[in-house]
């Protein structure tokens, strides 16, 4: 029954997200995943809600809301939890942005059994959609001391094995 519900959720996500090509306002999840995803802002509600408060460079506090990146990876059937052992510990998540910017997390950094790092894919700030140039999707890493991984205009998440 549990699997049927999970399957139904996944089908719902797919039905919401595969209607259009990758592009404006969409995020693709691919690479070492069991189920590649194309996520739209409308489909975001299918993932686990998450929010965090974070200061900007000027020191002003903002509330970001969106979904847990971990829940996206879980939906994409990425090796997490008990599967994250052995060679899978060499895997990372590469996040790509529209301007070419890229940031990286190890899967273990994100997994609750290891680093349990909170990373959010936000689509709203202080209750409003993210502004042009920063949205529709922004990565929020509230526990990072530096702001550099809080990337704007996220368009791709790629799971890969580290080489060497």
């Amino acid at each position: 029954m549990k699997h049927k519900i999970a399957g139904a959720i996944l089908l719902t996500i797919l039905s919401l997200t595969t209607s259009g090509q990758t592009g404006q306002g969409t995020l693709t999840v691919k690479g070492e995943v069991g189920l590649p995803l194309t996520i739209t802002t409308a489909g975001l509600s299918e993932f686990r809600h998450a929010e965090a408060n974070m200061k900007d460079r000027e020191g002003n506090m903002h509330k970001y809301t969106g979904v847990s990146v971990l829940s996206i990876l879980e939906s994409a059937k990425v090796t997490l939890g008990k599967q994250l052992r052995g060679e899978h510990l060499k895997k990372y998540l590469l996040v790509k942005c529209a301007d070419g910017y890229q940031v990286l997390f190890s899967l273990a950094e994100l997994d609750p059994d290891f680093g349990n790092k909170t990373v959010i894919l936000a689509d709203r700030v202080d209750g409003k959609p993210l502004p042009a140039g920063k949205g529709p999707f922004r990565l929020i890493v509230p526990d990072d001391k530096a702001l550099a991984r809080n990337s704007y205009e996220v368009i791709e998440m790629i799971v890969s094995f580290a080489k060497d």
Partner: protein, 321 residues
């Protein structure tokens, strides 16, 4: 990170062949243009023109980009349409408005020049010339165009003492302004980051509100990418005027004036240029004349006089004559 494809390692023979090809006019449809026509060593491998002239007499769409430190680059052109140097070099060779000759014809012409089959055999183990091997040889040579002996490099190595203006300029270049703390900055280093003074990113720098050139959007098809162009290297920047993708600025002063005083605050403007200010409740960097001059003095520290005279990069046929 360096970018050398596994199937095209740098070899002495490959680089030498690439160097010869870089200056080879037989690669153009009218036998008059080579890569070096638009990438002159004395101008840090640019051509000093707003737009370059192709074999058909027409002008290129965009300003010729500097060829420097490409070993650390894997996306090319102002719009990033080429991934890897091997792919990049094919565009100008075959573009009808640039060198205007197919790689098949180039291969045939080179095969008929006595020296080339042997040079290809030496470089790649075959005397059969192909477009792929022409591209590989050119890519090998271009990866050797490394500029690392500017006064800035010497300063980083502890061998050069900048004057006070250069030091002020360096600080401004790498500082983001924080008016609430009384910190002034030019915020240049955010995009022109690190010792490479570039990043492989695409930004709208507030040049236009109506885009006659789609820039990055021409590649991605995304309207949000309209007016975005590649962050250019600032290595040897004082030698590579005019500036911007369309060569609209003739001098560094004009560039500094733009970033300081004339950025068009529009929705597509890079978020890294939005709301930059050196004064509370004021838009724009509003750098002083002295601050602009100091930044230019720092930029001139990026001129590598040995790079533009290095015989390893010059026309081999001129040396042998």
């Amino acid at each position: 990170m360096i970018y050398i494809p596994a199937d095209n390692p740098l070899t002495v023979a490959g680089v030498e062949l690439g160097r010869k090809l870089f200056y080879e006019t037989a690669l153009s449809g009218n036998n008059q243009l080579s890569c070096a026509s638009c990438h002159k060593q004395e101008l840090a491998f640019t051509d000093g023109k707003q737009f370059s002239t192709g074999v058909d007499g027409s002008s290129t769409k965009r300003n010729s980009m500097a060829l420097v430190n490409l070993l650390w680059t894997d996306n090319f052109f102002w719009d990033g349409r080429a991934k890897g140097l091997e792919q990049q070099v094919k565009f100008p060779l075959e573009d009808q408005h640039e060198m205007g000759q197919s790689l098949n014809i180039s291969s045939r012409k080179l095969s008929e020049i006595r020296s080339y089959p042997g040079l290809f055999r030496k470089a790649f183990g075959t005397a059969t010339i192909s477009g792929e091997l022409i591209a590989k040889a050119l890519a090998q040579f271009e990866r050797t165009l490394i500029s690392s002996n500017s006064p800035y490099d010497q300063y980083l190595a502890g061998k050069y003492s900048p004057d006070s203006s250069q030091l002020r300029g360096m600080k401004l270049f790498f500082t983001n302004p924080q008016p609430e703390k009384g910190i002034r900055g030019g915020a240049c280093g955010h995009c022109h980051s690190g010792v490479k003074t570039t990043s492989q990113l695409y930004h709208n720098t507030g040049l236009d509100t109506i885009f006659t050139d789609g820039g990055r959007a021409d590649v991605t098809g995304q309207t949000t990418d309209k007016g975005r162009f590649r962050v250019a290297t600032l290595r040897n920047i004082s030698l590579t005027s005019p500036y911007m993708h369309d060569g609209r600025f003739k001098s560094l002063n004009e560039v500094l004036d733009h970033y300081s005083d004339h950025i068009d605050e529009q929705p597509k403007l890079s978020p890294f240029l939005k709301d930059l200010s050196n004064q509370k409740n004021t838009k724009g960097l509003r750098l002083t004349l002295q601050e602009k001059e100091d930044i230019i003095q720092f930029l001139q520290m990026l001129t590598d006089s040995t790079f533009i005279k290095d015989p390893r990069f010059s026309n081999p046929s001129l040396i042998s004559q």
